[in-house]
Subunit: 238 residues, 2 copies
DNA sequence: TCAATGTCTTGACATTTATCAAGGCGCACA
DNA sequence: TGTGCGCCTTGATAAATGTCAAGACATTGA
């Protein structure tokens, strides 16, 4: 494992207060895997063997019920996922697969639990991380229950607009089918939602989106800090 | 505060490993409030002043966006809520109000944070509690995204069926308007979903429900342990 | 006792969302 | 250079869900 990657991980809120020797020990037990796109990393229902950290590439968390499937979120670097399952030594509630070629750090679950048991500072960092994740899911659920699908799309675009530098142009990081599922609608519906937003100054060219006015988008979305503001760089996580 | 109530709280997973003296200190700083029904305890957006614990009665957590409102969950004793906001010293993401007359223990947020900073066992109990809550919300989100409204109702009834002793009879603990909102539908829709379930042996008499067969309900709901099983007695919490 | 109120249900209808089918487009690959 | 394939869009239609209005019923309080 490259020292550069080690530094990236060390800088994560989860690890930065950890005892140095223990951090090294944890990473020694871990391994950095390279995966091609569309590889399933985790199946829901399986026991949690590893804490995963996306170092590079994009990873989708999704869930299934009978034949159905729904994208819960898409993670970009650097994000941990399935922390809660690892801590509880429980089965995964979501599945995960790569969307692009990706590098994923996998830390044995037992090592994480042991580190938490021994390192008080690490235990407190975990509290902070979990609290963040928890609040992320709550925001997500509010988004789902309080907004229509067009509003969710507008809110998503407004979020990406800011995240990608507020230039008025943004690129969808994920394909539209996955985006649709993440926003809780069908691909056909997403297409139609985009057309609805055209009259609000949203132009679509494949994955390239032009936005006339952030405020207009936010008005449509009924922008609300208690749903849309992401306090840290932390994205949605399991 | 009655010693009996103290014992109840002490037995919660969150507090049972805590240093005894610190537990007493925490409770001394706290106060047990009695509220009539329909009293707003918390408004979303306000800074988190207290960790709340429902000792008696029912408390609804809900969220709003512009004029809209949605019930996130309804808590019964003994449940903590808004733990994450307290730990992060952040604003509440949800509002709370009593549904019945209720007794609520309120522990000053700063006391909780101080206790976590000083008591390592308490910090680890918090990790466990947050991980539980987190997984609860994830299950909830899967429920919302993967099931139709009739299926969500069937799943709710199946859950209550078991929870209330699997006698074939159960009583709705909350009014139907709130239940509808919690399940993500309108009251009218809930009524119609109940009629749909009639052909599956569900009889409704006001809040009294008779269920012919749990399996039948579960089949309709597409029962799945990874959504519906509640590992501990812990109910949904913030 | 009766009016007033709130809850729940039902019907008619509108809107939203999903499904099915077809076709355009770009891209990989033979 | 096709040719197939996957992705996306569009149209037609169906299903699910929401809205509005009315009425039944129980509860409360004057």
């Amino acid at each position: 494992m490259r020292d550069e990657d080690k530094q990236i991980i060390r800088r994560l809120g989860l690890f930065q207060d950890m005892d140095a020797a223990r951090f090294d020990g944890l990473l020694n037990a871990a391994f950095l895997q390279r995966f091609p796109e569309r590889v399933v990393l985790i199946n829901e229902g399986e026991p949690s063997d590893f804490l995963h950290i996306v170092i590079d590439g994009m990873v989708e968390l999704y869930a299934t019920l009978d034949g159905r499937e729904s994208t819960m979120t898409v993670l970009s670097p650097v994000s941990t996922f399935i922390l809660a399952a690892v801590l509880k030594d429980a089965v995964y509630l979501m599945s995960a697969r790569t969307r692009t070629a990706a590098r994923v750090l996998m830390i044995p679950a037992k090592s994480v639990r042991d580190a938490m048991a021994e390192d008080d500072a690490f235990a407190r960092s975990i509290v902070d991380e979990l609290a963040n994740c928890y609040r992320g899911v709550v925001r997500n659920q509010k988004n789902l229950k309080l907004r229509t699908s067009v509003e969710r799309l507008a809110s998503y675009l407004a979020h990406q607009y800011v995240r990608q530098g507020a230039t008025g142009e943004l690129t969808l990081q994920i394909d539209k089918k996955t985006l649709a599922s993440m926003l809780g609608m069908t691909p056909e519906n997403l297409s139609r939602s985009f057309s609805t937003l055209r009259r609000a100054g949203v132009e679509v060219n494949g994955p390239e989106i032009t936005v006339r006015s952030l405020d207009e988008l936010r008005e449509i979305a009924h922008h609300a800090p208690l749903i849309d503001n992401f306090p840290n760089t932390v994205e949605h996580q399991q």
